[in-house]
């Protein structure tokens, strides 16, 4: 009922906010731009609180410089070059303009002839005009006309395209998204050069008005899911969107789970690959992380590189990752269960050694594990936030002072240190950070259950975890598919990675009707004839035909 209550509350909140909005709009000056330039400028100054980074450049043009116009832009948000060259300069030096008398004509010429910028639009209400101004467009207002001309001159200093820091790969494209949504969508477009790659944009956030774009391949993505994404995005009513994490938490299917049901990536090639499977990408301005829906559990164990390596190697690595994830979940739990409940399953020699090590340890194994785990979590948290230069200090303190000294002081046993470090390394080796942190959390549940009921506890929690995972859905798609429900033709791309030539169809639950992804007989075959060897016969046949 909690979630239900929450939802109700949200609705109530929304209603209140709507009422507030209406109140605000009642107090506002009239929504439409007026024809007097000075009044308009006054309104803008008042609305922006006379902010110093808003540049207002009044000009006089036309015959005898009779017509007053003003050019407005925000310092730093615009590309100075284009504002200077293509807006101000062209307006001042245009021959046609200097002969006109009527503002209406000036407007037309401005749009058609003068402003040499790609994106240009005419708006007549304040709301749009101000949003455009705030997002880095250059506004031209003309005295006597109740409209504004917006030229898209967004620019300014952005981080350049750099190598990915979170999804590192050895093979494959090195570039990663940056904070600019235009760059990001363009990077995907550069990979998928197709008219069917469609982008829709909306602004989300009452105050930030962040630009959010949905990108999908028309004809591959399922319409129901696209509609659902639109619906959920439109339903968001929040002050600000600072990162795609906001969106993620506002549109996921189920909130009471530690597992991510939306995938995020920093790599254009990952996004392109997922788009080709029929998924939908959500770009948020100001963050290099692009969301992908629907996300399946198995997606979090795959990296873009899997598809670049040959299938046998990729399959082996994926197996390894499954084992890694398993270790990072239950590693300490199994150690606790084995040493406190099922000692008989440890080989005798090992049992004796562990017993000898534990001889001086005053705590039960569970407490010992907890101490080590928490110590490790502290170290990790410290390591992430520390300036890079301090990183090595942390590792020295962690490894030497705590690890070595704790053993010598008899607070923990060496075996426990091995188990905890192995688990820690395993959780770093999980490809997706999002899943690795949920594993970190679930690990403690496993530890508690192991400490109270041994393997019985572990297996019960494990079953519960599986039931929970199976009950999750991501945008209507069962989270554990294609393993459960098992879809045979897609199970080849889960823990296994079948050869590229065997990807005949797109995922059934994700993509729409159009599922054939490649032609028949894509498996490469060596030439059957001796043509390749016998160079004299090359002209007779195509060597690659088989």
């Amino acid at each position: 009922m909690f979630s239900f209550l929450k939802r109700k509350n949200q609705k109530n909140d929304r209603k209140i906010q709507e009422i507030n909005n209406q109140n605000q709009s009642n107090n506002r000056p009239p929504n439409l731009i007026e024809s007097s330039l000075s009044k308009n400028l006054e309104v803008i100054k008042q609305k922006t609180g006379n902010s110093s980074d808003i540049i207002i450049r009044p000009l006089k043009i036309g015959h005898n410089s009779q017509i007053k116009i003003a050019i407005l832009y925000v310092k730093g948000m615009v590309d100075n070059q284009s504002v200077q060259d293509f807006v101000i300069d062209s307006i001042m030096n245009n021959q046609n303009l200097s002969e006109k008398l009527i503002p209406q004509e000036v407007l037309e010429i401005l749009i058609e002839d003068v402003v040499a910028v790609g994106g240009i639009k005419v708006v007549s209400d304040w709301e749009k005009l101000l949003t455009a101004l705030m997002s880095g467009e250059t506004i031209t207002l003309i005295d006597g006309i109740s409209k504004g001309v917006c030229a898209s001159t967004q620019g300014g200093q952005r981080r350049s395209v750099q190598e990915s820091t979170t999804d590192v790969s050895i093979r494959g494209s090195k570039e990663a998204f940056n904070e600019s949504i235009e760059t990001n969508t363009a990077m995907v477009r550069r990979i998928i050069n197709n008219t069917d790659l469609w982008v829709e944009s909306i602004n989300i956030g009452k105050i930030t008005k962040t630009e959010v774009s949905i990108m999908y391949i028309n004809g591959i993505a399922k319409n129901e899911i696209i509609e659902e994404v639109r619906k959920r995005l439109k339903g968001i009513d929040i002050d600000g969107i600072l990162e795609s994490g906001y969106i993620e938490q506002l549109i996921e299917d189920q909130t009471n789970t530690t597992f991510p049901t939306i995938y995020h990536s920093e790599r254009p090639d990952t996004v392109a690959g997922n788009l080709l499977e029929g998924k939908i990408a959500i770009f948020v301005n100001g963050t290099p992380f692009v969301l992908l829906v629907p996300a399946l559990f198995i997606d979090f164990f795959q990296s873009a590189e899997d598809y670049y390596e040959r299938f046998d190697i990729a399959t082996a690595i994926r197996f390894l990752r499954t084992v890694i994830f398993f270790i990072s979940l239950v590693g300490p739990a199994i150690y606790i269960a084995a040493t406190t409940f099922h000692q008989e399953m440890i080989p005798t020699e090992l049992a004796i050694i562990i017993a000898a090590q534990r001889e001086s340890v005053p705590f039960p194994a569970f407490i010992e594990a907890l101490i080590m785990e928490i110590t490790f979590e502290i170290l990790r948290e410290a390591g992430i936030r520390m300036p890079k230069a301090m990183g090595s200090t942390i590792s020295i303190v962690g490894a030497l002072v705590i690890g070595q000294a704790a053993i010598q002081a008899g607070i923990v046993s060496p075996a426990m240190v091995i188990v905890v470090s192995l688990t820690a390394i395993a959780s770093f080796a999980t490809p997706s950070y999002a899943v690795a942190i949920s594993a970190r959390l679930v690990r403690f549940i496993f530890m508690v259950s192991a400490a109270t009921f041994g393997f019985y506890g572990i297996i019960l929690v494990f079953i519960m975890l599986i039931v929970h995972l199976c009950s999750l859905r991501s945008f209507g798609v069962p989270y554990m598919s294609p393993l459960a429900p098992f879809i045979r033709e897609e199970a080849g791309d889960t823990i296994f990675r079948r050869p590229i030539w065997a990807y005949k169809k797109r995922p059934r639950l994700i993509s729409g009707q159009n599922r054939v992804s490649q032609g028949e007989d894509q498996k490469p075959q060596p030439p059957r004839t001796r043509i390749m060897k016998n160079t004299t016969n090359v002209e007779k046949g195509e060597p690659n035909e088989s």
Partner: protein
Amino acid sequence: MEKAKISAYQLFILIVLFELGSALLVPIAIEAKQDAWLAILIGMVGGFCLYLVYHGLYSYYPDIPPTEYSQKIMGSFLGKILAFIYVLYFIYLSARVLRDFGEMLITSFYWDTPLFILNTLMALLVIYTVRKGIEVLARTSELLFVLIFLLGISVLFLIVVSGIIQISNLKPVLEEGIKPVLKTTFTQTLYFPFGEVIIFAMILPYLNRPEKVKQIGLLAIGFSGLILASVMAINVSVLDVNNITRSPFPLLSTIQTIEVAGFLERLDVYFILITVIGVFFKMCVFFYASVVGTANLFNVKESARLAFPLGLAILILSITIASNYSEHIKEGLHVITLYLHLPLQVIIPSLLLLIAFIKNKKKKSKHSKNLFPKRKYRLVERDKK
């Protein structure tokens, strides 16, 4: 009835896990001595026949559960009483499975822990799962089936490698003739575990491809029968018949006998894993059927609401069902086979089928159009899509 659909493959796995559930635990058919595997196989054939009876009923009423079609066949009053008896039967059986399991854990691993606690944990897990509905249960089964399959294969591999199988223990076949084997079949293996498939009559209406019900059910029963028979044969060949008759959990004893390469020994954990998963599904299926049956009988809209009270009832029943293990086993093998399993698994379903057959024949002569109720259902299904 919740609005859910499960696939044929999911049904197959559910039946297999259900059949293996507690049957892997206990020494089934051990009265037939070293021919236990034979008794299981004959029981499996009997299971086929019983399944065909249940399927016959299903094909007359493909989209309603037995608690509802019993009312259509027997009339509202008698049918309701019958449905009530069946729901009680399902509840009782799930309590039995829970008790079996708890006893196993206590005897072998957790002798200091109260039965109530061990059962409570399992019951809570089952309640949690059943509340999530049949689809989640089916999906879970798909994943855990892979795990149990891998475990099974590795145990088999270890048993073979450690060289403890002595085929000679299985000989002589039919030492005392076929009689004791048949007796065991008809007093035990036919009902437990094969007759218990009657529970799936409650779940069949959820299948998304009704035309496959028969084939899938028979396949699953056959598959699980073969596994059970071979497991029992392995038990006998490893442990010798005398040891099995004295051990309450033969598979555990077999696994304990494994010794490979000096360190792969004492693999009791394997046994815990296999049985917890198996019993979990058996419980879930029984419990789900009880919950859905009760909801259906008393017109409760949201069947998940019943999970908690019914689960508590089953938990308490599982503790109070018998005061000690011998009593529990004696009840299970001798009392309920005769007074519960035989009438409820064999006699009543056959009678129902007979009545349904006659009723439908009358109808058929009246409206000769509606020859095959199944086909009609298929058309309806297609329209839905």
